[in-house]
Amino acid sequence: MTRRLVVGVLAILAVLTLFPFLLVLLNAFKSPGDYTTGGPLALPDALYFQGIVDFWVRVDFGQKLVNSTVIAGSVAVLAVLVSVLTAYALGIGRVKGRLWIVAVFLLANLMPQEALVYPLYFLTKEVDLYDTRLAVIIIFTAIQAAFGTYLLSSVLSTFPREIVEAARIDGANRWQVLWRVVVPISWPTLSVLLVFFFIWTWNEFFLPMIMLVSNDNQTVPVALGVLQGQRLMDATAQSASALLGIIPAVVFFLIFQRTLTRGIAVGAVK
């Protein structure tokens, strides 16, 4: 009885969560005329693919996908790498005043991006990186690594000291302890961070919009903004573009979902 109740509540919650996605899916395949007559909730009269095709061609979506993948992929890898190094020093190395260092790192994450815009703009212009993807990669590596450091250093501070000491007695230096002991054992945490960093960076809108001026450098979320006009918006075209924007992140998550579970399993055997 209670079991059925729980399943029922979960089903309702699932529908609520999926509702916006369903709405996007529904309207992405409607023609504008169909949308006007039927409204957003009606089923489409006929499947209409032109909205998706038009959007793809108009913003050169293939190029945006490449940009987003390069940026989010590089940020995910680099930010995890930086987080591991800093968290090793803070969590296992027990550097003096680590609480304050972690607090400062966290501050970088808590700062609203609007406050960062002008300093970042002047800095990137100064080093000639304004309007380059590299600038966005560096900025987000720093922002994500700040969070990664905070999280990983608290994870690593509970790392069993015996294992580290055993490795040191076996003659491993600090570098070897990190790469041969700490990283393999905390791999499940690292891969979760990797996936999060990728998806978070993928969905970033504000800073990429400011930093990436040329259309050739823009990311997927910025490209979606092209459809939002001054006074008008085309709901069907926006749904079509939103669908194209969501799919890559979902696909990425589904692919890495499997490696995630494998990573956790490997950690458990050890």
């Binding site: 504008p32 005329g33 949308y35 006007t36 007559t37 039927g38 409204g39 108009r58 913003v59 390069v70 992929g73 590089s74 890898v77 680099l78 995890v80 790498l81 815009v117 703009y121 212009k125 000639d128 990186l129 304004y130 309007d131 380059t132 993807r133 590299l134 990669i137 790469w179 041969r180 990283v183 393999p184 791999w187 690292l190 919009m209 400011i210 001026v213 040329s214 259309n215 050739d216 910025v222 903004g225 092209v226 459809l227 939002q228 006009g229 001054q230 006074r231 008008l232 918006m233 085309d234 709901a235 990573g263």
Partner: protein, 428 residues
Amino acid sequence: MFTPGKALLAVLALAAPLLVACGDDAGGNANELRLWHYEGPDSAMGKAWDAAIEEFEDTHPGVTVKFEAKGFEQIQKSAQMVLNSDEAPDLMEYNKGNATAGLLSKQGLLTDMSAEVTERGWDKLLSPSLQTTCKYDERGVMGGDKWVGVPNYAEYTMAYYNKDLFAQHGVEIPETFDDLVAAMDKFVAAGVTPLSMGGKEYPAQQLLYQLALSKADTEWVDNLQQYKGDVDFHDEAWTYGAETFADWVRKGYLGKDSAGIDAESMGVAFMSGKFPIMMSGSWWYGRVQSTVKFDWDTALFPGSDLALGSSGNIWVVPEGSENKELAYDFIDITMKKANQELLGNSGGIPVAADPAAITDEKSKHLIEDYQTLVDRDGLAYYPDWPAPGYYDVLVSATQKLINGSASPDEVLDELAGPYEENLANVGG
């Protein structure tokens, strides 16, 4: 045993060449006109400007136009930063107004094109009320003496009528203001809410302003918009506007729930045939024309010489442009008869076209009404222009009128506060 670390390194090794490739950069080039605008490809402007790009490349052999479609929001948020860097385009569409073009001009980021305007005769094509939004003074206030931009299209607000619904309820299309009120009474009696309205965004404040305008003159508009004289928010026009608006709400001409409806939903509701009347701008015209299945018509707001409207967005040439001469050539093409007529036939309002040359019936009607309005100097701009952040003040004020949570008098007080504060800052 060491696979995770190795995998990480492998991914990094893969990413490295990509990272290096990110550093490439597009610079200025004498044979390239870098053009930005944010109009949709199917809009009248999008179509006309596409044709202008073709014509430009034909008349300038060896020069290519590198056009980039931008989002409105991106330009709004980042224009100042982009124009201050060497990534600035040679020519771009930008919002007219004190807080946008005026501000950038004050900061010296936009080229003063006054000499070019007189030499090429663009000033003769633009009526005085259109010129106001092109010219700014050293404070960045419009109506100055320095040409900062040039528009090639215009916009104004009007009444859209669903003729099928009018016929179905035996109501005549109104000719005068009294007709309009009588028609709305009939609809209410028949259980139909006559006005499609969106109180969450610009439509409600535009109706309020339109009602005030019907008791105002051009001097009143100049005082309000260009700080040329005293502005009293409790004068006859504003009081009439606010009270009539409240009265319309009371009589059920617009729905009580419209305070929470955005502009898009307002338009969609009208276009799906749920409401007989919509008061809004020419920016809906093309969309109504292409999607609506019922018989429809438009007319200027009855009983008012003035209507909301202005030039469209303007072409500006950034100070950092390396190809200013090419940019002026491009503007010139968009101002010429052929391009203006294409704009008109695509559902836009050209600034300098002959209505006789417009073949499409609906477009012709739109442009003729516009000419009538311009001939009586009836473009009164928009209520949110005079002060930064005024849009939100107006939204909240009109929402209170719709909800009935404040009296017209209190609402006018609410409008007066931020306006006078800004006036003190501008030093007008």
